[in-house]
């Protein structure tokens, strides 16, 4: 009896381990360079989310995550917080007024107030992040019950997350687009419930953020 119970426990353990490994993500990063890059110590970068689309907007949490990662570690870059920059530049970088092409940025820089504030921040590059995370292929079901003797859940759920983000890098000095980096992270998440639900979540957005930030840091540094 003790052996059967041991076998069952080890089977559940193996199942859990398998699911833990399965709930990982695969990330692809593509870089397209259109110009030379490099940054001095006194210069900085601002990372902005695109929000002009009606059906989605780039989450400010993702923009903040990329900025935080770029400002840390070896070859750290001085990153201006998104909201601080947008407020200081008000009303030029609002969803309806933000420049969509480098030609628009050229016109914008002709405004004295804009050029002055850009100079005060020491902005060398503007990075435009555009994308979102989508959840698809939801399958399975979980039912929970509660009674006088206690409660519990039983069932199994699974879904796929896909985070796809583009980063366009504008050189404020030459007013040109110097490159684009695309990150696509996908992962399968699982939610088995045996009395207690055990979420095994694929951290696609966190992985996309880490990989994109590392690539952007190298790109801006010119390496």
């Amino acid at each position: 009896m003790a052996t059967i119970s041991g076998i069952r426990t080890s089977r559940y353990g193996l199942l859990l381990c398998a699911l833990l490994f399965a709930a990982c993500t695969s990330t692809t990063v593509d870089e397209f360079r259109q110009g030379e890059t490099g940054i001095e110590n006194h210069e900085s970068v601002v990372i902005l989310g695109r929000r002009q689309a009606s059906d989605y907007e780039t989450r400010s949490e993702f923009v903040e995550c990329v900025g935080d990662r770029m400002a840390r570690g070896e070859n750290a870059i001085n990153v201006i917080p998104e909201q601080e920059f947008i407020d200081a530049m008000f009303p030029w970088f609002e969803p309806r007024t933000a420049p969509l092409r480098t030609r628009d940025l050229e016109q914008l820089m002709a405004e004295d107030a804009v050029a002055r504030t850009m100079g005060e921040f020491g902005i060398r590059y503007i990075v435009w992040l555009d994308g979102y995370t989508e959840t698809t292929d939801r399958q399975g079901s979980i039912s929970c019950t509660i009674g006088p003797g206690g409660g519990g859940c039983f069932g199994f759920g699974t879904w796929e997350d896909d985070a796809n983000f583009d980063a366009r890098v504008w050189d404020v000095g030459s007013l040109t687009n110097v490159g684009t980096i695309n990150t696509d992270a996908t992962g399968q998440s699982y939610l088995p419930a045996l009395v207690v639900p055990i979420p095994l979540i694929a951290r696609v957005e966190a992985n996309a953020c880490n990989r994109l930030a590392a690539q952007l840091k190298d790109f801006v540094n010119g390496s």
């Binding site: 989450r59 200081a88 008000f90 009303p91 030029w92 609002e94 107030a113």
Partner: protein
Amino acid sequence: METRTNTVRSRGKLVVMLIAATLLASCGVSNVTIEGSFPTPNISKLPLSVAVYYDEALRDFSYLEYSETGQEEFNIASGQSHIQLFNAILPAMFDNVIVVNSMEEAASSGADAVFMPLIEEFQLALPAKTKLDVYEVWVKYNMRLVTPTGDYIADWVLTSYGKTPTETFRSVEAGINEAAVVALRDLASSFSLTFSQVPEVNDWLASL
């Protein structure tokens, strides 16, 4: 023994009254006062002295949202936040701004023009009705610019739109406030950038 029974009864009554009060309160209209902060526009000032007159309709503006059963659901007061917004953007647009309480005061203010904003329409989209995880606010304005003596200079329509980012856990009041603040910011950006492009305003500026 009787005293104890009376105490239990009075406590029971209190509980019943509290439950009834909570139920009644949940049936009533929820009041939402729009509150937010707005940055000063980073634009070049026009060399003008402008008087601004906020009439009663703007100062006390509130919008009533009804439920699908026709009951009053939310009363959204946004008049004061509009005044706060205009008080933040107008001094960045003009050399001198004077807030006046009447047109008579405007006539003696020595201003070049009097600006009178008016809210014409306010629309709200709630997730419970649209089945989307976002709150949306749309506002239509009538902007009027007259001479200090009340003669017409310009009269134009502006619309503003604001929506919240997708988020599941948020109170309805916080969602409405956030969407309205985004809409007010949108108004500030379009008003400050398009003011001198309004044909009548452009003609008037050229005639000065």
